[in-house]
Amino acid sequence: MLDPRHRAALDSKLLGLADDEFILGHRNSEWTGHGPILEEDIAFANLALDELGHGILWYRIVAHLRGEDPETYPDKLVYERAAGEFQNVDVVALPHADWAFSMLRQFLFDAYESVHVPTLLASNYRPIAEAATKIKQEEVYHLYHTRAWVQRLGLGTDESRRRLQTALAQLWAPFQQLFAPGADESLLVDAGITPDLRPVHGKWCDAVVPFLESSGLVVPDAGIVPDVRRPANLERMTALIGELQEVSRIAPGAVW
C-alpha cells in the first residue's frame, strides 16, 4: 500500500484536481441568469454544474484516502476549509471580465481535460481511473460547445475578436500553472498513479495553438510551465471563498 510520503503527495494532488474543477465551476456559475441568450445561459450553467460535479468526484477520493465518509466529506472540504487551504491554480479563480474571457477559459480548460483525463484512465490507483471514466464522457460535449463559441467569437465581429484576443493575453501565462507538478508529484508519476504532465502540456499546445490561430487569434509566445505548482492568490481566494461559504456560515449544517 501507500507509504506516508506517497499518501501525502496523492492527497495534495487530488485536492488540486478537485479544487481546479470546483473553483472553475463556481466562477462560471456566476454567469447563471446573465448569459448572452437564454439557451446559452442554460448550456453554460450546465457546464459549470458538470465541473462542480467533477470536483465532487475528486473530493470523494480524498475522503476515501483519509478514511472519511465520501457522502458528507466533500461538503466539509468546500464549506469548512479556509481560503488559504484551497489548492487550485490562480487562473480558475480569476474573476470574469466578460463573456469572451469566461468562454475562452472554459475552452482552454476543456482542451486540457481532453488530453489530461485520458492519461488518468491508465492510473494504477483505481479510484482515479474510475473518476476519469466518468469525467471523460462529459468533456467530449464540453469541448464541442466551447470550440464552437471560440470559433464564432474569433471569426465574428471586430469587437468579439478583440475581446477574445484580450482574454487570451490575460489567460495564457497563468494557464500554464495547470501543467506544473506539485512538490512531491514525481513520486506519484514514478509509481504509475498520475501521469507526467510534460507530454500532457505538449499535446495541449498542439491542440489549442493551431485552433486558436484558425479562429483568428494571435497566440502569445510558448507558455513557460513553472517548476512547481503554486496556489492561487490568497487575497483573491479570500474574497471568492468568503462569498462561496457565506450562507453555510450563517446556517451551519442546514439541509437544503
Binding site: 441568450i37 448550456a43 464552437a148 450562507v247 437544503w256
Partner: protein, 185 residues
C-alpha cells in the same frame, strides 16, 4: 435579448430508440451547429431523449384545423420536382406534435394539402388532427446523422431533484428570523 440571439429553430426529440419523433420546443441559435447544441442543452441533457433534430422555423409550414378548409386541393404536381416532406400532427387530446407518415410534394403548400388528405380518414375523436406542420426532410439537422459532428449520448445517470426538494424559501425566512432575533438581543 435583441435579434443577435439568432433565428428560431424548431426542436424535435426521439424519446426512445425505435420510437417516432415528436416536437419538443424551440431554441434560438445563429447557425445549424449551435442550434443542435442549444437544443441538447435545453431539451436533451436529462434522460428524456436519445436523439434530437432541429429545423429552421422559417421552413416549417403550420396550419390549424380551422385553416385547412380554405386551402387549395393537392391536385397536380405544382410544376416542380418533388421532395420528401416530414409531417407532424397534433391529434385528439395530445399536446405534442407527433410524426406522421411523410409525403412527396413539390411545394410546402402541396405537402400540407397531401398531409391533410392523409388525415381525412380519421373517425375517432382521439385521432382527429387539430393542426399540422410540414417541412422538407432535407432541412433536418439531426444528431442521428452519421456525418453529425456531435452525436449526443443520453445521460441516464444524470438526475435532477424536483424544486420542491429544495425548501429554499422557508429556510431563508428562518435564517432571516434568527438573524433579526440576534440583532435585537
Amino acid at each position: 435579448m435583441s435579434d443577435s440571439q439568432g433565428p428560431v429553430w424548431q426542436v424535435f426529440e426521439r424519446p426512445a430508440h425505435g420510437h417516432p419523433v415528436r416536437a419538443a420546443g424551440s431554441v434560438h441559435a445563429v447557425d445549424a451547429e449551435t442550434a443542435l447544441q442549444n437544443a441538447w442543452a435545453v431539451y436533451g441533457r436529462r434522460p428524456t431523449a436519445v436523439a434530437l433534430w432541429v429545423v429552421p422555423r422559417s421552413l416549417v409550414l403550420t396550419k390549424s384545423r380551422d385553416e385547412f378548409a380554405s386551402l387549395a386541393p393537392a391536385h397536380g404536381n405544382g410544376g416542380g420536382s418533388e421532395q420528401t416532406y416530414c409531417v407532424f400532427c397534433r391529434c385528439g387530446t395530445k399536446i405534442a406534435y407527433e410524426e406522421s407518415p411523410s409525403v412527396l410534394a413539390a411545394t410546402a403548400e402541396q405537402a400540407l394539402a397531401r398531409a391533410i388528405e392523409q388525415q381525412a380518414g380519421a373517425q375517432q375523436a382521439d385521432d382527429i388532427c387539430h393542426a399540422i406542420w410540414v417541412f422538407p426532410a432535407a432541412a433536418i439537422i439531426s444528431s442521428e446523422s452519421p456525418t453529425a459532428e456531435c452525436s449526443f449520448a443520453p445521460q441516464p445517470y444524470k438526475w435532477f431533484r424536483d424544486h420542491k426538494s429544495f425548501p429554499t424559501g422557508a429556510l431563508m425566512r428562518e435564517i432571516e428570523k434568527e438573524a433579526s432575533k440576534s440583532e435585537h438581543a
